[in-house]
C-alpha cells in the first residue's frame, strides 16, 4: 500500500461521503471566542527534570559553588533572562516566547511527596493529585473533567500508546498516539464499518476512530509518523483546534545522573520543540486561549555529583506557556542554595505546591470551583483564587 494513495483515498472518502465526521474540523475554527473555548495542555517531564540546569540562577553566588562544572554564566553561553536567571541554550528556541511574555517559569515547586526520591512514586503522586503514593486511584486531570461546568466542551485526549494515570478515571478520554492509524483504503474501511454496524458500542468507537484518524491524517499528511515530541505535540494541538479542550503527553529523558551537559540536551530540545509546535499548530486566537503546563515529579540535587550529573532531589521547576498569559517572568519564591536553605542539606527547598499551580490553571481555564479543586481534584490542597499562581500570570 503506498502512503500517498492511502491518504488520498482517505481524504477523498471523507470529503465525499462523511461530511458529518469532517464537520468538527470546520466549525471548531470559528469557536475560539465562544464560551468554553479555553484549552489546557499538560506535559509531564518524566525522569525528574533538573530545573537548575534549564533555568540557571547564575547570579546566586552559591550556584557556582554547588555546581562547579555544570553552572553556566552569560559569558559561557547562558542566555540571560533577568539579571538573575539565565536560560540554558539547549532550550534557546523558547527565548522568543519569553520575550513576548508567553512563557513563565515557576520556581521551587514540588508535590507533597518527600524523601522517597523514586521516579515511580513521585510520578504517581504528581498524577494522582493526592498527598501520598496511591492515595487516589484516578488522575487529577480526569477528575477535573467531572468538575467542569455542565454544558462546557470537555473532551480530552491522552497522546500516548497507553493511558497514563493523570487522565485515567471515570470520564471518557481519547487515547491516541501519532502512530495509531486506521491506514485503510475506502473499500477496506467500508468492510469494517459494516462489521460494526449492528453493534452500537463498536459502531461508535469506529466512527470516533474515523474522525480522529481523519484529523490525524490531515495533520501528518503523507509524512512520517514518528513518536517524537514534535509529532506528539502536533497531534495534541490538532485535537485542540477541534472540539478537544484538554490534551496531555509526556517527555522523557531527564534522568541525568551522569554527563548532564550532554544528556540534558536532547530532552530540552524536545521540550522546546513541543511547546513551539503547539504554538505554531494552533491558530493565534486559540493560542491565546491555551495554557501549556510542564511539570516534573521532583527536582534534582542542588549540587552536582561525581559523575558530572545530578541525583534525585525535591524542589523543582515547572513552566507555563500560552498566548494569553502575562509571562516573561519567574514566579515563586527562590529559596537560595546555601547549606541552611537546602532541604536535608541537599535538595532545593520547595516553596510552592505544584498542585496549586495545576489548580490555578484549572480555575483559570475552566472555572472549576475552589471547593472542588481542594476536595475531589486535589484532596487537602490549600488553594484560593488569590493564589500567587493566578495573580502573577
Amino acid at each position: 500500500m503506498g502512503m500517498d494513495k492511502l491518504s488520498m483515498s482517505r481524504r477523498a472518502f471523507l470529503a465525499s461521503a462523511c461530511c458529518a465526521a469532517a464537520a468538527p474540523l470546520v466549525t471548531s475554527m470559528t469557536l475560539a471566542a465562544a464560551p468554553g473555548s479555553k484549552r489546557l495542555v499538560t506535559i509531564i517531564l518524566r525522569g525528574a527534570m533538573d530545573g537548575l540546569h534549564l533555568l540557571q540562577p547564575y547570579a546566586d553566588r552559591a550556584f557556582k559553588l554547588c555546581r562547579p562544572t555544570l553552572a553556566l554564566t552569560p559569558d559561557s553561553g547562558l542566555i540571560d533572562l533577568d539579571g538573575f536567571y539565565g536560560l540554558n541554550a539547549d532550550a534557546k528556541d523558547l527565548l522568543p516566547l519569553w520575550e513576548r511574555g508567553e512563557l513563565a517559569f515557576v520556581q521551587s515547586v514540588s508535590t507533597p511527596y518527600r524523601d522517597g526520591r523514586s521516579h515511580f512514586d513521585g510520578q504517581d503522586v504528581l498524577e494522582n493529585g493526592g498527598s501520598a503514593v496511591g492515595e487516589e486511584k484516578s488522575g487529577w486531570l480526569n477528575r477535573a473533567l467531572s468538575a467542569m461546568p455542565p454544558g462546557s466542551a470537555r473532551k480530552a485526549i491522552d497522546v500516548n500508546t497507553s493511558a497514563e494515570l493523570l487522565l485515567s478515571g471515570d470520564n471518557d478520554v481519547e487515547v491516541w498516539s501519532p502512530r495509531t492509524d486506521l491506514a485503510m483504503k475506502i473499500d477496506e474501511r467500508g468492510f469494517f464499518e459494516r462489521l460494526y454496524r449492528n453493534d452500537p458500542l463498536f459502531a461508535k468507537a469506529m466512527a470516533d476512530a474515523s474522525v480522529t484518524d481523519f484529523s490525524v491524517d490531515e495533520l501528518y499528511g503523507d509524512g512520517k509518523r514518528g513518536a517524537k515530541a514534535a509529532d506528539i505535540a502536533r497531534l495534541a494541538a490538532g485535537m485542540l483546534m477541534q472540539d478537544y479542550r484538554i490534551a496531555s503527553f509526556s517527555i522523557t529523558g531527564w534522568d541525568t545522573h551522569a554527563g548532564q551537559k550532554a544528556a540534558f540536551r536532547a530532552a530540552a530540545k524536545e521540550l522546546a520543540t513541543a511547546i513551539l509546535t503547539i504554538r505554531s499548530a494552533l491558530s493565534p486566537d486559540v493560542w491565546k486561549e491555551t495554557i501549556v503546563v510542564g511539570m516534573t515529579e521532583f527536582g534534582r540535587t542542588a549540587r552536582e555529583n561525581g559523575s558530572l550529573g545530578t541525583d534525585h532531589g525535591t524542589g523543582g521547576l515547572a513552566l507555563i506557556a500560552g498566548g494569553g498569559i502575562d509571562g516573561g517572568k519567574v514566579i515563586g519564591q527562590w529559596p537560595g542554595l546555601g547549606e541552611k536553605h537546602l532541604l536535608n542539606g541537599r535538595d532545593l527547598m520547595p516553596t510552592g505546591d505544584v498542585r496549586e499551580l495545576a489548580a490555578a490553571m484549572l480555575y483559570r481555564q475552566f472555572d472549576i470551583s475552589p471547593g472542588k479543586l481542594t476536595s475531589t481534584i486535589f484532596p487537602g490542597l490549600d488553594f484560593s483564587p488569590s493564589s500567587v499562581y493566578l495573580k502573577s500570570v
Binding site: G116, S168, E188, F202, T212, A258, A266
Partner: protein
C-alpha cells in the same frame, strides 16, 4: 443459554478456542483446569522458578560486588558497570515477558490462565517500581499467585501481600515502627501504603466502613515485614516492628512482643470479613460476566464463600453452576492481553511464533529509544545518559510485535499496571476510538504474519463457532481477499467481546 456450553466456556471463562485443543464440556471440566494448571510446567520464568530465584541471588551478589568495585573505579567504569547489570536484568525480564505470553497462548487450561491473570491484576505489582522488581514480578506470579488461586482466599492474600514483590511495590520495606529499635536509631517511621491497600484494594474494598485509624493501625501491625536484600525473600525483622497492641476494625493485634503471627491473624480476620467476600465475589463476577453482574450470582458466590471458609474453588464453582452465568454473552470486552492471547490461539500460534526478535546491538536501541515502542526496561534505558564505547558489545532484546509490544500499544503493558488498582476492567474502557484502531491494526498484522492460507470462513468458524453472528459471517464471506477476511474475524465485535 443461547450458545453452546463449550463456546461460553472457551470464550467467557477461558482464553478462546485453539483448534488443536478440546474446550471444556462441563463445569467439572472447567474446574478441573485449576488443578491441571497447577500440574503444568510453567513456561515462565525462564528455566523454572529455582533458576529465576538463583538469578536474583546472583544479581544481588553482582550488585554488591559492583558497589565494592565502584569505590575505587573511575566514573566511566562505574557507569559501564551499572549499565551492564541493568541490561542483563532487563533482558531477563524481556525473556520472561515473552514466555508469559507463550504460557497463556499454549496452555490447554484456559480457566486457570484467566484466574491467574485476574488475581495478578487484583494483587497488582509493577516491574518498573525498582530494578530488582524486573526479576521479582515473574517469580511473584509463579510462586505467590498461581499456586494459591484454587485454595483459601486468606492463604492467597498471605502469599501475595507478604511476597517481596508486594513488600517492595507498596513500600513495606520502608515502613518502620517509629519506636521500634531500628525506627528510633534511623529516625524513620511508618509508611501506610501497604496497610491502606490491604484494606482498600486487596480485602475489604473502598468505602466499606473502615477508618483512617484502621488503615494506620494495619500499617503498624505490618511493621517488621521486610525483604532480605541477599536472598530477596520476605523476612520478619522484629527490630523494625512497632511494639504494643493495635486495633483494626475492633480487634486487637499484638502485645508487648510483636511477631509474624499478628500479621497472619490480621489477614485471616480481614479475609473473613463480610465486606471482603462481597467485594471479591462482585469483582470476580464483574470480571467474567458483566460490569454489573447479576446479583443472584454474586449472592450464590458469597454464600459459597461462607460455607467453605473462603475456599476459592467453591466460590468459582458457585459462579459456574449458576444458570445466569451462562446468559447474555458478550457483555465484557477482552482486555488487550486476553484479546491478543485469544487471537494467537485462534491462529494456532506456535512457541516459535511467540519468540522474541533476538538481540540487537545496544547502541542502536538507545539511539532509537524515543521513536520506538519500548518495553519498560528499554524506556528506562532511554532515560540514561550517553552510551559508552565499552558498551558496544552489549545487546538488548527486540520485542515481538504480536505480543509484548502489542500489549503495550493496546494499553496493557505486561506486568506494568498504571497503579496498585491494576488495569481497567470495564467494557467502555477498552472499546473506544483509539484502542479500536489499534486492535484493528493488530488484527491485520496478525492475519498477515500468521494467517497463512486459511479460508476466512473456516477461520471464523474455528475462532467463534456458534458465537459468530450472521452479519459477521456475511461480511467475512465477502471479504476482498483472504488476509482481509482473517483480519475482519479478529476485529469483529464477537471476537472482542466475551
Amino acid at each position: 443459554m443461547s450458545l453452546a456450553f463449550s463456546t461460553m466456556a472457551a470464550l467467557r471463562f477461558g482464553t478462546g478456542f485453539r483448534p488443536e485443543q478440546v474446550p471444556p464440556a462441563s463445569v467439572e471440566e472447567l474446574l478441573a483446569q485449576l488443578s491441571a494448571g497447577r500440574q503444568e510446567t510453567l513456561l515462565f520464568p525462564q528455566g523454572g522458578l529455582a533458576a529465576a530465584r538463583q538469578r536474583i541471588v546472583d544479581a544481588a551478589e553482582k550488585q554488591d560486588a559492583l558497589k565494592l568495585a565502584n569505590k575505587t573505579a573511575g566514573e566511566a567504569t562505574k557507569r559501564v558497570n551499572r549499565k551492564r547489570l541493568m541490561i542483563e536484568i532487563n533482558t531477563h525480564l524481556g525473556e520472561d515477558e515473552h514466555a508469559r505470553f507463550m504460557q497463556a497462548v499454549l496452555s490447554p487450561n484456559g480457566f486457570n490462565e484467566r484466574m491467574a491473570s485476574f488475581w495478578v491484576n487484583h494483587f497488582s505489582v509493577s516491574s518498573v517500581k525498582a530494578q530488582f522488581m524486573r526479576l521479582l514480578v515473574p517469580v511473584y506470579e509463579a510462586e505467590a499467585i498461581r499456586p494459591n488461586i484454587g485454595g483459601r482466599f486468606a492463604d492467597l492474600v498471605k502469599a501475595a501481600v507478604l511476597h517481596p514483590a508486594m513488600l517492595i511495590y507498596l513500600d513495606q520495606v520502608k515502613s518502620f515502627g517509629p519506636t521500634s529499635p531500628l525506627g528510633l536509631k534511623r529516625k524513620v517511621g511508618l509508611n501506610e501504603n501497604l496497610g491502606r491497600e490491604l484494606l482498600e484494594l486487596h480485602t475489604l474494598g473502598a468505602g466499606s466502613g473502615y477508618s483512617q485509624t484502621d488503615v494506620r493501625n494495619a500499617a503498624f501491625v505490618l511493621t517488621g515485614m521486610t525483604v532480605d536484600r541477599r536472598s530477596y525473600r520476605a523476612r520478619y525483622a522484629v527490630q523494625m516492628a512497632e511494639p504494643g497492641a493495635r486495633d483494626v476494625l475492633g480487634r486487637t493485634y499484638g502485645g508487648r512482643r510483636r511477631g509474624l503471627p499478628d500479621i497472619l491473624a490480621l489477614i485471616e480476620d480481614l479475609a473473613a470479613a463480610p465486606a471482603t467476600r462481597a467485594h471479591i465475589c462482585r469483582k470476580i463476577a464483574g470480571h467474567f460476566l458483566a460490569d454489573t453482574p447479576p446479583p443472584e450470582v454474586v449472592r450464590a458466590m458469597t454464600s459459597a464463600w461462607e460455607d467453605a471458609d473462603g475456599d476459592l474453588t467453591a466460590v468459582y464453582a458457585a459462579m459456574l453452576r449458576h444458570s445466569k452465568s451462562w446468559d447474555d454473552e458478550g457483555q465484557k470486552a477482552k482486555p488487550p492481553f486476553d484479546y491478543i492471547v485469544s487471537g494467537l490461539r485462534a491462529l494456532s500460534a506456535t512457541q516459535e511464533d511467540l519468540q522474541d526478535g533476538g538481540r540487537v546491538k545496544h547502541r542502536m536501541m538507545a539511539a532509537d529509544a524515543q521513536a520506538a515502542d519500548m518495553t519498560a526496561a528499554q524506556d528506562e534505558m532511554a532515560m540514561m545518559p550517553a552510551v559508552d564505547g565499552k558498551l558496544a558489545d552489549l545487546a538488548t532484546l527486540r520485542v515481538n510485535p504480536l505480543t509484548v509490544q502489542a500489549a503495550a500499544r493496546l494499553g496493557q503493558p505486561l506486568w506494568r499496571p498504571p497503579s496498585p488498582a491494576g488495569f481497567e476492567d470495564s467494557l467502555s474502557a477498552w472499546i473506544a476510538g483509539g484502542p479500536l484502531a489499534d486492535r484493528i491494526a493488530w488484527a491485520r498484522l496478525a492475519a498477515a504474519r500468521l494467517g497463512g492460507d486459511r479460508d476466512p470462513r473456516d477461520f471464523l468458524q474455528a475462532a467463534l463457532r456458534d458465537a459468530a453472528r450472521q452479519d459477521t459471517i456475511d461480511i467475512v464471506s465477502r471479504a476482498p481477499n483472504r488476509q482481509m477476511g482473517l483480519a475482519l474475524v479478529l476485529a469483529s465485535p464477537e471476537f472482542n467481546r466475551r
